[in-house]
Assembly symmetry: C2
Homo-oligomer: 199 residues x 2
């Protein structure tokens, strides 16, 4: 147990700081299409969805580790802002560097040993090698595909997103869950037939 009041003061300062994630507005809209989603509520939805969808993971996963990963996976957006998965490659590459710099700032505000623990968890998520990170990434990529299907794909149409582009994301879903990827493929094929995606 931390034995000084100073530790608690520092820890709750970090809690006030991460409230900023509620002000990071994503390109994607809610399932009912009523407004853009923010990254804090997306993180909640992804973490709880991991618990619900754990039986469909390709490999056995420590679901609590997946949940922790999804709770912190976008903290860096407090500094770096949101990335739209269908941005141009040069924009995405620049964003990746921004996020690495942001990780130094964000995790640097935490006290040890949580700083190292959560930074390692974020690095693991980004590397997508372990069963937990593959599954966490699958959930993270599935959510906006599903919400866009649900709300009529306004954002896909607005940005001229193609079936091919969405399938690149489904390939990442597939690394973590074949069943979830098959489900996404089926949804996307239907959306393409209905003209919601550029074919």
């Amino acid at each position: 147990m931390p034995d000084t009041i100073n530790s608690l003061t520092e820890d709750i300062a970090f809690i006030a700081y991460i409230d900023g994630l509620k002000n990071v507005v994503r390109v994607n809209r809610l399932f009912d299409g009523s407004r853009q989603e923010n990254t804090a509520e997306h993180s909640w939805h992804a973490a709880l969805s991991a618990l619900i969808l754990a039986p469909y993971a390709n490999e056995p996963v420590d679901v609590d580790k997946v949940i922790r990963m999804l709770l912190i996976h976008d903290l860096i957006e407090i500094e770096a802002g949101d990335t739209f998965a269908y941005d141009q490659p040069d924009v995405l590459a620049r964003q990746e560097q921004l996020e690495i710099d942001a990780a130094q700032v964000v995790f640097g505000k935490m006290r040890s040993p949580l700083r190292e623990e959560l930074r390692a968890l974020w690095d693991e998520f980004e590397a997508r090698v372990t069963p937990e990170s593959k599954f966490a990434k699958a959930i993270d990529r599935f959510m906006p595909i599903y919400s866009n299907i649900h709300n009529g794909g306004e954002i896909w149409l607005k940005h001229g997103v193609s079936v091919g582009q969405v399938r690149q994301n489904i390939a990442i879903v597939r690394e973590g869950s074949t069943q979830l990827a098959d489900q996404a493929e089926e949804m996307v094929a239907k959306a393409a037939r209905e003209g919601v995606l550029v074919t």
Copy 2:
């Protein structure tokens, strides 16, 4: 592993349903005071704060269980709406019955065995007997005290909330974390001196 496509269809229907928690608007405002908070982003903030504040729990806790509890603790608000902790006792009593009815509806939409698992977790949270539920409730009650302190207490002033009323919530924080309760007491005493709370 669920062996039918039907299970996955049902599970992702539930994921679309709980998106509704992002539309439940709380009385409390963000830490920067810019807008009212919604219950989905509050749930994210509380779950991650539990991880950060776990060292201050009065008793050893299974922090992953606390996180799961906080991820689902307010799902019933999709049906019952938000409760303001400083409402009149008759309003709070009516809300409590609404929430019990809502739990039947919300958890009833899940498949077994997750339905029973998460319902049991919610019942445990509400009963506030186990170390995990006491600590989860402490976090849940601490968050709005802290955000109100942080944003200048606009909501407390608007609703004429008194130091005595906030202290009733601090007593619940104390059941889970004496250190966090002491911190809250200190903040509240300062806010009272500054005229943010009715003394």
